[in-house]
């Protein structure tokens, strides 16, 4: 089964009125892969995911999801896909067990009681099973949503910003769980804004203004951006940042705590700009561009091209 594609779509396009929300996106995801989907708010990530699981019909494009046609076989796709929405979308006035039981019934899960028990056990929800979902904290709601979207043992898991508003420990546990699931052959497509999460994906894609701008492993994405980054330490970084901005070759000036990251795609032009403001009070080192620098660079470039 390895190497087989769980998602294989080309030219997928969605328009709402005159606005093109997803534009000619091609995406191939292998089975058992954790695929990260990144991009600024409103870049079309959620819309793209909704097209994959049959909630929206693409205006153009074609392809398959788990071997089923995304244009005509939505019913088959829905049966084998687990979808965790951005906003908690289970019933707050049902208990944890009742929610799981409801979803299990809808999917006609065989041996339903045992499946619900197993799911509660696996996610550590067993002793809370009679608590109303509405009373749960963000982290527990997220666990419930994950348990519910897995109860019918889907082949593909679509997670739309699953860790928004969840504390770091719960996030780490969540990602451990995702890796454990992927190891069993489950394919996971996950959207996120967190760079540390992006780095835990096998491969990723970056979407901005509906266009797919980069994809590959973290190293490939960083390399393909060909971004040069200087890291500056020293006093009065805010004033330094102001004097750097707007100079030719300087595309990003970002403060990271006590350091300043100065980046640009044209290394020579950037070096000239840095040379003009460089003094003995600061230490300048040529560093490795981070994923975040790459994405912000891509977003700025995309705004120039598409927005």
């Amino acid at each position: 089964m390895t190497g087989e594609l769980a998602i294989d779509v080309t030219g997928v396009t969605k328009r709402f009125g005159a606005k093109t929300v997803v534009n000619q996106v091609d995406l191939q995801v292998r089975r058992g892969e954790i695929y990260g989907f990144l991009g600024p708010n409103g870049s079309g990530k959620t819309t793209f995911i909704r097209m994959l699981c049959g909630l929206l019909i693409p205006d153009a494009g074609r392809g398959t999801c788990l071997g089923f046609d995304v244009l005509t076989q939505q019913a088959e796709i829905k049966r084998q896909v687990g979808y965790m929405t951005q906003r908690f979308s289970y019933y707050e006035d049902l208990s944890i067990r009742e929610n799981l039981d409801f979803i299990a019934r809808i999917y006609a899960v065989p041996d339903r009681r045992a499946a619900v028990d197993r799911s509660l056990e696996q996610l550590g929800l067993a002793n809370r099973s009679h608590q109303l979902a509405g009373q749960l904290s963000g982290g527990w709601k997220q666990r419930l949503a994950l348990a519910a979207s897995l109860i019918h043992t889907p082949q593909l898991l679509l997670l739309d910003e699953p860790t928004a508003g969840v504390d770091p420990k719960a996030r780490r546990e969540f990602w451990d769980e995702i890796h454990r699931l992927a190891a069993t052959g489950l394919t996971v497509l996950i959207t996120t804004h967190y760079m540390d999460e992006a780095e835990r994906c096998h491969r990723l894609a970056y979407l901005a203004y509906g266009n797919l701008l980069a994809r590959g492993t973290v190293a490939e994405v960083v390399a393909s951006a060909r971004l040069t980054t200087w890291i500056v330490r020293g006093p009065e970084l805010a004033a330094l940042a102001d004097s750097l901005r707007g100079r030719p070759g300087v595309e990003q000036v970002v403060a990271f705590g006590n350091t300043l990251h100065v980046s640009g795609r044209d290394a020579a032009l950037l070096a000239a700009a840095v040379g003009a403001v460089r003094d003995s009070r600061h230490t300048w080192t040529l560093g490795q561009a981070g994923l975040e620098d790459v994405f912000i660079g891509l977003m700025d470039a995309a705004r120039d091209n598409f927005a």
Binding site: A75, Y83, T85, Y107
Partner: protein
């Protein structure tokens, strides 16, 4: 020191206005509901109903009878729509609600009138709704007292005045004691069902959308028909509990008679409950949020209660209002419930009221299913 300031007050006022303007449906309802009430209360409702359909059964065609009939026609209260040949035919017209009154003139009317024997004119009324018949019966009494005055000349002058030349007997069918509860309590069944069924279902799907659970539901293999029917069935059961409660109260609390068939009533209730639920489901596919859904339900409820003949006599309304009333399911259900409970109507008697109900149900269902989308498009 927390102090009341006008700039903060003004900030809140402005925000409320902006939000009010954004919610177009709510804004529309705020203007629409008063207008609707004004139209209904101002123009449609009339507690002095006139032009009530009347059937004649004339045993005598003499000039005095013609005088009486002509005076009836001119009184505004009675509109002669039929002439019944037999007593059975007249009874059926009343039973089916095709006429409000039957006026019976005996065969030897003229002869007995001239002899001063005070012949009887029998006015049979469908008194299920006492409010509808009261003014007309009063008018008939006045008429019977003085309509013949001009014809009673010479030796017959003595017949004028008290106690009058004829004896008008009023026979109030179905509700001889003119007890208002007989009319209100069966009607209440339809009103309660309309109110709860439409509101509850209107909220049911809107709530899913508002809370975001709809997206989840749509991502599962569940079909639109499954969602719709699945949401309706629990409320059908609730509706039947309401019907049973009202019937028990009618029987033991208000002593309203139950003349007709209980199974028939329960059968028809199914149709009405489903129609009301279909309206609710349709509203919930149109409304953006729960507030709008409630407003739409209210918008439907208002004409239902005012134009159906529940609060005010149906036949007292102008033609346009009767026309709107005839579309509403409650109008037909009221007639059916009153027919079965008070008149003992059988299936054949209520059949003419079933078709509009069925048609309404089909249209409401079709709109609801069409509007319910399986995608978020």
């Amino acid at each position: 020191m927390p102090r009341f300031t006008f700039h903060r007050l003004w900030a809140i006022v402005l925000k409320e206005f902006i939000q009010m303007r954004r919610d177009r449906v709510t804004f529309g309802m705020m203007v629409g509901i008063p207008l609707l009430q004004l139209m209904l209360f101002g123009f449609a409702i009339n507690s002095d109903p006139r032009h009530l359909p009347t059937a004649l059964r004339l045993g005598d065609q003499g000039p005095y009878v013609r005088t009486f009939v002509a005076a009836l026609r001119q009184s505004d209260y009675f509109t002669v729509v039929r002439e019944a040949a037999t007593e059975a035919e007249a009874a059926q017209l009343l039973q089916r609600g095709e006429v409000q009154f039957v006026i019976n003139i005996p065969e030897d009317f003229t002869r007995r009138l001239l002899r001063g024997e005070r012949p009887t004119i029998l006015l049979e009324a469908d008194a299920t709704d006492p409010a509808a018949t009261g003014p007309a019966v009063a008018a008939a009494r006045v008429l019977a007292g003085n309509v013949f005055d001009r014809d009673l000349q010479g030796p017959l002058v003595a017949l004028r005045g008290r106690p009058g030349p004829v004896d008008l007997q009023v026979h109030a069918h179905y509700n001889p004691e003119n007890i208002t509860q007989y009319n209100i309590v069966p009607g209440l069944m339809g009103v309660v069902l309309t109110m709860t069924m439409v509101v509850i279902t209107a909220l049911a799907i809107t709530r899913e959308r508002e809370r975001g659970t709809m997206e989840n539901l749509l991502a599962t293999p569940v079909r639109p028909a499954e969602v719709m029917v699945g949401k309706i069935i629990p409320y059908i059961i609730v509706g039947y509990i309401q019907v049973t409660l009202i019937l028990l109260a009618a029987r033991f609390l208000f002593q309203v008679p139950m003349v007709g068939s209980l199974p028939l009533l329960y059968g028809v209730a199914f149709l009405f409950i489903t129609a009301s639920l279909a309206v609710g489901v349709t509203f919930s596919t149109l409304a953006q949020n729960q507030l709008q859904a409630v407003q739409m339900a209210f918008f439907f409820f208002l004409p239902s209660i005012l134009l159906s003949g529940f609060m005010f006599p149906f036949r007292g309304m102008p033609e346009w209002a009767q026309w709107i009333g005839s579309i509403l399911p409650l109008t037909h259900f009221l007639r059916i419930v009153r027919g079965i409970m008070l008149k003992g109507s059988d299936f054949a008697d209520i059949a003419p009221e079933l078709w509009p109900l069925l048609l309404f149900l089909a249209v409401a269902m079709a709109i609801g299913v069409k509007r319910y989308r399986q995608t978020l498009d």
